[in-house]
Subunit: 314 residues, 2 copies
């Protein structure tokens, strides 16, 4: 698939940070930055810009806050065309500050929101847009939103200055026909906006659904190294690169950083396809119950878990 408009964003540090409270080493983050730079990836998301009031610093690593100075330290001395992004949860904005874009290492602010918080997202979007940043609004968990509310949110967003709006399948519930439907809905209600896609891999459909979104003209696509991310993880960046034939991409640095860092990391951190995540995906549920299960002694009691979730839904 060669379409020069397609841009790729790596969310390894940001979504991966959700499974280790954002305690990646500086060495690792630098290695990822270097690899993505060599590979021709368009954006790297460094983490969250979280409120230290809501998220006390004694509980989280640096990538929960992504202070500008910290980021400058990481990228120092590495030649790169990669643009940097940071994510903010619209419903968890308190004292966080953003420098004007000229004084910041970041190029893009991504605002994650539920439909119910879209007004907060829009206020924040205006604030950071006025500081000069590219912005995206990422609507999470849309597989459980009713279409009336979703369309109302889209119509509000259509009137903003945001450049990009993301379809986020937080629960890993959708398959191709649903992706086609939802992307078409976004297109209809967001004329002139670039669309993005962020998928989860509960049913091993993250890469497939990313392809389907690309076929329907999504031009900003998220992936992560070896699919790292919360629960079942994300669309593997290496598979996106195998699919996109744009000659500016080079897969080798990505393979290298996976072999050097991700494989050892898998000894300590768990992500990817597992039955409890498949169950929450199939049943269109938040993965939090599956994540909790995997941390306890019943981690492989699938039938019990399936019945608990079913009972809970009744």
């Amino acid at each position: 698939m060669y379409r020069p408009e397609i841009k790729v964003l790596d969310c390894t540090i940001r979504d991966g940070g959700l499974i280790n409270n954002h305690y990646f080493t500086d060495e690792f983050v630098r290695a990822v930055y270097r690899a993505l730079s060599e590979a021709g990836i368009d954006y790297m998301e460094m983490g969250y810009r979280s409120s230290r009031t809501y998220a006390p610093p004694e509980q989280y690593g640096a990538w929960k806050y992504c202070d500008d100075d910290k980021i400058r330290q990481i990228i120092d001395g590495i030649e790169s065309d990669v643009k940097l992004s940071v994510m903010v949860d619209a419903h968890r904005v308190l004292e966080q500050q953003f420098a004007p874009v000229d004084e910041s290492p970041f190029d893009m602010i991504r605002i994650a929101t539920y439909v119910k918080d879209v007004d907060k997202a829009i206020v924040l979007q205006k604030r950071v847009h006025d500081l000069g940043y590219e912005t995206t609004i990422n609507i999470m968990a849309i597989s459980t939103e009713n279409e009336f509310d979703l369309v109302e949110a889209l119509d509000q967003i259509a009137a903003t200055t945001t450049g990009t709006v993301y379809v986020v399948d937080s629960f890993g519930y959708f398959f191709s026909e649903q992706i086609h439907y939802i992307v078409e809905l976004f297109k209809r209600h967001l004329p002139g906006k670039r669309l993005g896609i962020h998928c989860h891999n509960n049913q091993q459909l993250a890469f497939a659904n990313t392809i389907e979104a690309i076929r329907k003209d999504c031009n900003l696509v998220d992936g992560s190294l070896f699919g790292i991310g919360r629960g079942a993880g994300n669309c593997p960046l290496e598979l996106i690169m195998g699919f996109l034939k744009n000659p500016k991409f080079n897969i080798e640095p990505v393979l290298k950083v996976i072999q050097d860092y991700m494989i050892p990391m898998r000894q300590d951190l768990e992500w990817g396809y597992l039955i409890p995540y498949a169950i929450t995906g199939i049943l269109n549920q938040h993965p939090r119950s599956a994540i909790a299960l995997r941390e306890g002694p019943d981690r492989d009691k699938y039938v019990e878990f399936y019945n608990q979730i079913r009972d809970h839904m009744d």
Copy 2:
């Protein structure tokens, strides 16, 4: 997706047997048979009917041969509507015998063939059809066949009495649009035949491609427990069951046999998504080089492997 014509075949023992020389215990095979029976699965493939001349019995377990008596022993005492199938490689037929269907535990013979061996497949198909079996012809590795040869093979198969013809993405190379194209090609050249789909998971697309084949009217779909199978494995049966809403299916026995048997088995056997399999899939190559890599000391040297394969293709 509720379409009563869709039948599901479990190939756990057959395709899984390729990673342990077919040495599954009788207890495990019985447990799978019992689970599939309770789950409402339509077919279970017990293994291969191989030539003992080509495949010496000191090297392989019972599921390489699937002698009728052995199978009777396994299913004895378990109530079941599951039909049994066995696979034969068309190019490795020598002294293998088949009893008339009334005297056999099997209902269906699946004939695996490359395009070049289709004449052998047709001869064997006629022989076993005349003994009363349902038959399928499974055309392997079609992602490397030219369309002229493939169409010639399809036209020959169209003239046989086989009920079903399978699309087999042996290399895990296809994505949705290619699946659509190839299934349409099969439909055009095989009027009146049921179509089947068997996918490999090199690019995490086995389940997605199975769905796409179902959307294009494939009505016999292969899966395996937790996706077990050679290399990157197959489409996970549990995901097919989550997708198909036919009320005759019950996912719980499948989850149970996965938790009781497949999770412990993963300690000793490797299958599923790994970078070397992704590489052979992306490059449309047979997975044998990736399988060999995983058995050696360089199992995680992905960049070297990628370059070797690229050089080898030049």
